[in-house]
């Protein structure tokens, strides 16, 4: 299969000698055509660096970047059919919205009539027809964001790179733009490589997610897989909330403190490991009957649900998420003793 974008053992080291910073360490990734791929990771993990290498602003220290199976590692940005939506938007302040959007096509030497038509179409795609003659400074943050998007889309790139394009927007606008971006991507069928450090954004929008940490790519997969089957503690912790419980695993059974036995995948590694369970998979019931004994702590009300803090027999603190009821009758008294169990198939064994 030919991938839209591939990185092969790509390394990037900034500076040299004692100032050397390894921003990316042997990252290999394959992104399919027409995919909405998200790079997710904490600040400084190398997301921008990877994106800049795909765009052509940085050359890999070693390894390759491929576009449609062809090595483009040394091609300059203006020869790559790849466009970027910059985090700072970087709109041209001396050009109108229309001219900004038409810039790429003009530089490609397209005839004026064709440029005008395409610009009109793209502007209507991002619903900015009415602003076409304004200068970027006369637009709101959200509108500028859409101009940046339109400008990158107008030359019809094969791959669109988006570096935290929504981070400057307020929550409501961000949600709107998330929906809009996803709609555009489905409509145009362009490969999107999207960078964010917002895990919720990644989960709602992506076909696949690549989780990064400190220059390494830890796990690549669809949102459900990343969320439900995190490969290690970092991924489990970074994506959503997770309870970590020490356990001894043997033959598909995890034994936790207090002797309770939990079913886990039969191919799970054996020995002393940590198991991970999402708060929404924690069930609180009566003591006994194979359940883990626990003491109820504080309950925090969040509207649609509450977080109930619990302490297991060995002192491990875990959180259960419970749906709120209308009357508040189900609220557990602090200090009461309960039995905790986990939903079928929800217990993950982490390798590290």
């Amino acid at each position: 299969m030919v991938y839209a974008i591939e990185a092969r053992s790509t390394r990037k080291v900034y500076g040299s000698g004692s100032f050397a910073v390894t921003a990316l360490d042997n990252v290999s990734i394959a992104i399919r055509k027409g995919e909405f791929f998200t790079l997710l990771g904490p600040s400084g993990c190398g997301k921008t660096t990877l994106l800049r290498m795909i765009a052509g602003f940085e050359t890999p220290t070693s390894g390759q970047i491929l576009l449609n199976g062809q090595d483009i590692s040394t091609q300059p940005p203006n020869q790559r059919p790849i466009n970027t939506v910059f985090q700072s938007y970087a709109l041209f302040p001396h050009l109108s919205v229309r001219e900004n959007v038409g810039f790429g096509l003009k530089m490609k030497g397209r005839p004026d009539a064709q440029i005008a038509g395409t610009v009109e179409r793209v502007l209507s795609l991002v619903k900015l027809e009415a602003m076409a003659d304004r200068k970027p400074q006369q637009l709101s943050g959200g509108q500028q964001q859409r101009v940046a998007l339109a400008r990158a889309l107008a030359p019809e790139p094969e791959v669109l790179l988006l570096d935290e394009p929504l981070s400057a927007l307020d929550l409501k606008l961000r949600k709107e733009m998330q929906v809009e971006l996803k709609r555009l991507q489905l409509e145009l069928g362009i490969t999107f490589i999207f960078v964010t450090h917002d895990q919720e954004e990644a989960l709602t929008m992506s076909d696949r997610i690549g989780v990064m940490s400190a220059g390494h790519l830890l796990q690549v997969g669809p949102p459900r897989e990343i969320y439900n089957r995190p490969v290690n503690r970092f991924v489990a912790d970074f994506i959503g909330e997770t309870n970590f419980i020490p356990a001894t695993i043997a033959g598909g059974v995890a034994t936790v403190a207090g002797g309770a036995r939990l079913a886990v995948a039969t191919d799970a590694p054996t020995g002393d490991h940590t198991i991970a369970v999402r708060p929404e998979h924690v069930r609180i019931g009566a003591e006994g009957d194979g359940a883990l004994p626990a003491t109820v702590g504080e309950s925090v009300y969040f509207g649609t649900d509450s977080h109930v803090h619990l302490t297991l027999a060995d002192g491990t603190a875990i959180v259960a998420r419970q749906q709120s009821d209308a009357t508040g009758a189900g609220v557990l008294a602090e200090g009461s003793r309960v039995g905790v169990s986990f939903a079928d198939g929800s217990v993950q064994v982490l390798e590290d």
Partner: protein, 302 residues
């Protein structure tokens, strides 16, 4: 607008005027005063030993572009004057263009250094201002004259067989003016480039622009205010230059400035000198108006 706001606005206007009063008074006397004197003098009759006689005469103004035949009293175009005007305009334009061509890369280089290097380089740029213009010009004279540094070096290296005649030519004046006015171009260009958002370069480069297109379509339009300011700062003093053409151009390669000085000195024709000064001012003002208008217009249609 409420009453209170209205009053506050008025108080502010008044205090603004009061605060700028000293400057306004100074400008009124120091700038318009001499100008009015010049204008009045240009319509008077020249005195025999300089100065003026208080008698109205349009001769000075006619004399700026026409010359009167002493024998039959007919008027013809004053070729000598026009040549001087033309040379002045030509040399000033050339100086402006050349200081821009040299100054732009320099300013770009400085603006893209680290804060410390940048401060040092800017300091170096301003060093020539510490030395008297006369001395600097004479120094250039020493370098380019026939037996000067340049010719001696080239001769002894065997590059040339006889000295290059640069001194007392238009080229010498051009070299001198470029040297003298270069900082005036670099500083406003630097200020403009310093404010330029370098991320726009990547954006343009990402959108298929070549290096030349990035310069032409993004950098130049955005730093244009600096280009305009630099051009004005170079062109105006260059057009009125006096010391440089005097020392490097010799007696024959006069510019307007020298020609005006001549009228107040040996020429003993103060009204003509005054008329020429006013004319120079008018030329500069009109030229600037056209330049600024043309520059801002091409901005609005991309």
């Amino acid at each position: 607008m409420s009453k209170a706001e209205d009053k506050a606005a008025r108080t502010e206007t008044r205090s603004t005027w009061l605060l700028s009063a000293p400057a306004l008074v100074l400008l009124l006397f120091a700038a318009s005063g001499p100008l009015i004197i010049m204008l009045v003098y240009s319509f008077l009759t020249p005195g025999k030993y300089g100065n003026v006689i208080w008698e109205f005469s349009p001769d000075a103004w006619i004399g700026t572009i026409l010359s009167r035949d002493i024998f039959d009293g007919t008027y013809s175009l004053a070729d000598a004057h026009l040549t001087i005007f033309w040379r002045s305009v030509q040399l000033s334009l050339l100086t402006t263009l050349f200081t821009f061509l040299v100054g732009f890369p320099t300013a770009w280089f400085i603006a893209t250094r680290t804060a410390r290097t940048r401060a040092l380089l800017l300091f170096l740029i301003t060093i020539p201002f510490w030395t008297n213009l006369l001395i600097r010009t004479i120094a250039i004279n020493q370098i380019i004259r026939n037996e000067g540094l340049l010719n001696t070096a080239l001769l002894s290296l065997g590059v040339i067989d006889e000295p290059l005649v640069i001194i007392y030519t238009n080229v010498a004046v051009f070299i001198g003016m470029t040297y003298v006015y270069l900082p005036l171009m670099v500083l406003p260009l630097f200020a403009a480039i310093d404010r330029f958002d370098m991320r726009l370069l990547e954006a343009a480069y990402d959108l298929y622009a070549s290096r030349w297109q990035v310069l032409r379509r993004v950098i130049l339009p955005i730093v244009k205010p600096g280009v305009i300011a630099g051009s004005i700062l170079v062109f105006i003093p260059a057009l009125g230059a006096y010391v440089t053409p005097r020392i490097l151009g010799g007696g024959r390669n006069m510019m307007i400035g020298n020609f005006i000085e001549l009228q107040f000195g040996q020429g003993r024709n103060w009204p003509l000198g005054a008329a020429l000064s006013v004319l120079l001012l008018v030329i500069v003002t009109v030229a600037l108006m056209f330049y600024v208008r043309a520059a801002t217009r091409s901005d609005s249609n991309g």
